[in-house]
Symmetry: C2
Subunit: 408 residues, 2 copies
């Protein structure tokens, strides 16, 4: 019996970064660019904003005209009118002011805005009951970005703030890294399409596929489904070779027997160089995971048990998709803090992912392990997230504070 050579999860992430590269770039409309990563540096083609703007409703004026004014001895300024929104501001002379709305343009001669609450109108005059400093309540020309400033760097992941920033620069399209097309195969003679109503003894519905396609979509990939492969090596090779020509990454799921696993591993060796990189990962659930690079494209062989398959795809499949999309795989994972409800044992030298339910009762947030075999999807559906026990630990004690990564 050949022992499985297992690789540490951190090492697998390093392999992912060193063996695969972000895909080529394409131009995309800004409205569709959310979630993509920039494939170019962005410089501001103009000042943002391109004029001095008021941040309040008030009167634009020269700050020095208010110096010394107070509740008791207000400064008096002549109001020459209103700055219409979206229009150039009129000129003012010393001792004059004009009404400006939030976001409105300041006259060339004004360097501050006094809030309307600090003034009172008397005919054509405005009483200023407070002094304002130069620059007060003003966003200056180029304050957000100066013409020529670097607005965003190549590789930056485009979230809502970046989309807004690019829109403020008037950029209707940007260059981004293409997101991967990922091909999926299910494997195993026992599998039938999940929508089949009546099963024969020994048959199992392919429950992984729709779940994996959804996870791939969540990670931003375009998923393609290649069907269920029977346990025949020639079929494996032929089908996956033709699929690999049309996708950027390939995923096998379903087969949990040693035989199916062997077909997958042999297929990976045949599909392209350098072939198999990882034969197993020191992680639970999900140890019997295969990862290959076939001509620069990642090929992932998921473990057969549904919980293991989803766990592994969420950790490593999504990391591969991120890498191909040009997205950095963050080491910081957001989590919620909770008190562990009971002892959990764990084998040292292996990273354990424990399914937990998170319950809030009387101020305390509790993490309650959901036990069950890795074949049981119900246990994962009952769990709110996963508690990670690092390889160096031999378990956790009831009452310990733990970090739970929620499964969205």
């Amino acid at each position: 019996m050949k022992l499985m050579r297992v690789t540490d999860p951190e090492e697998v992430f390093k392999i992912i970064n060193s063996h695969f590269e972000p895909l080529d770039s394409k131009s995309i409309f800004l409205e569709k660019a959310g979630g993509y990563c920039l494939a170019e540096d962005i410089y501001a083609p103009e000042n943002i904003p391109d004029f001095n703007r008021s941040t309040v409703d008030g009167y634009a004026l020269a700050a020095r005209d208010t110096f010394g004014s107070s509740e008791g001895i207000p400064a008096m300024l002549e109001c020459i009118g209103e700055v219409p929104m979206g229009q150039p501001a009129p000129s003012i002379n010393p001792g004059q002011c004009c009404l400006v709305h939030t976001g409105g343009m300041l006259p060339e001669e004004a360097d501050a805005v006094i809030m309307i609450e600090e003034t009172e109108v008397a005919g054509s005059m405005v009483q200023a009951f407070n002094q304002v400093a130069p620059g007060e309540n003003v966003i200056h020309r180029g304050e957000d970005l100066k013409k020529g400033d670097q607005a965003l760097k190549k590789g930056h992941h485009l979230r809502a703030p970046e989309i807004g920033l690019l829109a403020s620069l008037g950029l209707a399209d940007v260059k981004v890294h293409r997101r991967p097309r990922v091909g999926f195969f299910s494997t195993g003679d026992e599998l039938v399409d999940y929508s089949r109503p009546n099963l024969k003894p020994g048959q199992i519905r392919d429950s992984n596929t729709p779940a994996l396609l959804y996870l791939a979509g969540q990670a931003g990939a375009e998923a393609q489904y290649g069907g269920i492969l029977p346990d025949k090596f020639e079929v494996f090779l032929e089908k996956s070779r033709s699929m690999l020509d049309n996708v950027d990454m390939l995923v096998f799921s379903g087969g949990s027997s040693v035989g199916t696993r062997d077909y997958t591993a042999r297929t990976m060796q045949e599909l392209g160089q350098p072939g198999l990189l990882v034969e197993g990962i020191s992680i639970q659930p999900g140890k019997p995971t295969l990862l290959a690079s076939c001509g620069g494209k990642p090929v992932l062989g998921l473990p057969g048990h549904p919980v293991s398959a989803l766990n592994i795809f969420k950790i490593f499949g999504q990391a591969l998709i991120n890498r191909l999309s040009g997205k950095e795989n963050k080491t910081l994972k957001p989590s919620v803090k909770a008190t562990l409800s009971r002892n959990i044992s764990s084998r040292s030298g292996r990273t354990d992912y424990v399914r937990v339910k998170v319950e809030t009762a009387s101020e305390e947030v509790k993490a309650i392990p959901v036990f069950g075999r890795s074949g049981m999807l119900r246990t994962l559906a009952e769990a709110d997230g996963l508690l990670v026990i690092p390889a160096e630990k031999e378990g956790l004690a009831a009452g310990e504070m733990v970090d739970i990564e929620l499964w969205e």
Copy 2:
């Protein structure tokens, strides 16, 4: 000057839950159901699995036939063949076994599987070097779900594990709550479409719209854009009335002047009963937020400054979309722990959202505040997430451990 009546953020969430209801339901293909919430209870129409399955590669047998066997004195069993994957298992007699692969069916008479590693083949006989207990290495019929068991409850949010679970039950479509269509208007005479290349003095590009449409999509809504409204009350009312007939929720963004805000508030009062619910929120940035219920549909008036608008939409806009989609607004927000790099002051009685960059340097994770006015989108693009300072605090000190909600 009328003072703004501000509502506590927690109170706003309560208002959202009490004034709005999940939308009606629709049938959806399971492959499209990820992210939706169930509008029906799901019961298992059959046992999952529907036969006893092996969890390993090994020999199916009656456990009692191995009792007492050991490395030195192995039990001898006659192997009558192999269980083909996806096929019914043959019958075995006492003293017999058959080869079974992971996921394969057990013979009716077998109650355990011995792992192949613990056996040796000698002709038609198998030596078992270990004893196995009844049930060992077996998933029993109905162990994941028994026929008639409740698999998932109405309201359950469908993530990948749930999609897999429903697929294992053979459910090709499910009843879910419809996701909201959300209509967006930009307001303000100073705004022009973001794709316009050359601006006149006083004009500003509508940078909020593409960012908000992306956020709405991330929350699962179907966004519709109604264009930029000029500062005319009649136009506001007419346009938003006809939009509201076709959507489930309406959002105004852009106008930051008191005038525009007044038009929005008046429009909300006219559009339907009960009208305005929230005139301001004790939150920074984002205080001048309006929320109304018009005939059961939420109407949200965002503050004008871009950072405030995105912040408010992310917190309350997405909470409204969740509510309409039937998704629970979780009180537990995943975060990363970091050490605050400097003191931050905050006004007591107001919840502050501080933009921070998260940097990892030599084991320590640091949260570095990004300062800048709420008009400056660049500051939000530079930030990895938000640090929340609760209303009861008057600031945070350098060196404190803080929780950062990452902005994805």
